[in-house]
Amino acid sequence: MITSPWSGASRTGLRAVIALVVSFDAAVLGSLLAKASLGATSLAGRPALLTWLPGKTWAVTLVTGGTVVAALLFARGRRQMLWCGLALVGLAWSSESLTSAMGNPYRNQFAAGVVLLGWLLGAVHARACGARSDREREVHADLAAAALLGATYVAALTSKLLASVDGWFDGTSLRAVQLAQRPIGGVAEWFAASPRLATALTVLTLATQASGLVYGLGVRARALCGTVLIGFHVGVYALLGVPYLENTVLLAAFSYPWPRLVRRLRGLPPIDDVEAVMPPLAPRGQLVAVAAAVTVVALARWGPVPRVYTGAAHAPGEGRHAARPDALVKSVHEWGPLRVGSTFAGWRLAELRTEARGATLDLVRADRHLSLRVEARGSSGRAGPFDVRSASVTHGATDLPFAEFAGAGAAVARAIDDASPDGSAHLDAWWSAAR
């Protein structure tokens, strides 16, 4: 039976914790946004809505204040769907504005948004089932919010397995991340020299994240998986120094029967395990729910979304390989289909340097400079804004508006793709020929 540790009790405490985490995130985002400016690290392809907020103290104060007020009113309990939705919009605007300015999403702040989204979806579901009051609606809101919190770990697991199954199972990636993240000397280098321990911890990490799939499936699942996931965050902090405070607090709130524990500590009689039970969704309601879900998923996959922003450039960049191999960097006149002096959407290829993993193109137009990098698709583990089936084409840091050089990037990518009839760019062969 799918129930919650909060079943039968008031969920005011749960909402209060969610509101606290939302307010904390809003304040952190607000303080960073007020100081942020659009510069070299800003993301290309960002929607105009996201370039407006950074650096405008008065506007940031309004958005942050509005988000906190909405969170507090959500905690109060009346009109939960309205305040939950407004708090989610406020957090989303702040978070994406900061991401577009800084170039990095702050993923530890996604948990609050995920929980708000789940709460909202669950409340809508309960309403469709006939729930009349906020108290009744939050029965389903609690279930959906917990389920979505668990889903974030499944997403992390899936991403790792899709990117590099063997890399994650042999523990090498974990050792590399740990060395790069932790202070020099001491535990970091000892851990790097302990591949068996790294492999064991990696397998444990993947198994722990898999537990997110069943996290929302009942009281026992929440207690067990919640404890495991909290332990995982403590371990990540100890090993990598990466704190996920929001996740830890929310997991603690959703996983344990706090109302019952508090009553027992106070010597009060136990709570009756009686809670509003909504009838199932009517067939028409089920149809609408499925249609809505399919529409959202289809729009996410194929809709008019600024994918340069949400996909390629939005990737945080960790794990990127640095540096060009000195011995292999060579200025050449021709590399595959690219030739110095050619023009791409009005940009002239001024210099072409080959490298071990691909090539760097310096393009000029009037007094403007642009650097593009071509790599074999998937060699960096990241997508680029101009990716084609055969290669990844990314641009270097620039203050130019994306629209100004998007055509050049696309034209270069097209030239490479056209020269790769079997869908696989023969970068190594082009490189060898260029030597």
Partner: protein, 149 residues
Amino acid sequence: MHEGSDSGAAARSRLGLVLGVVGAYLATAFGLGNLYPFSVFDMYAGDKASSASRVVARDAEGHLDEVRAWTGWSCDPWPRLDLDACQREPPFYVVPYINREHEQYLSEHRGSPDGGEVVDLVAKVWWLDASGVRSAETCVIASCRARRR
């Protein structure tokens, strides 16, 4: 609406809700990429890394320490920590946001060119294999002056 008794149909409805929102979230996130609150959480999901690097400070005696262990930094020219100065074969693994944090720290803790002692900003690079750390080396990014905190 009633309290207490839980029919099988109602339980199935709740199970449908839980599985539905999880499935829809994952499908949306993997279709979209990253847009708050949707994310594929691919922070450390890059391709297999066989190396690692970290920017650190090296004093005149060759002792390595964290950049933050020093203050009053003066470097000419002022360094960029994109590690273009460290051209190695093959390329090595970096975590760019950590280097950006170091850059920010250096900018916020500048000092006079004639203060402190000679300190090199270096990238320490480790090469990993199945048995542990195969080798390690350092690459000088900039020669600076700084003083211990």
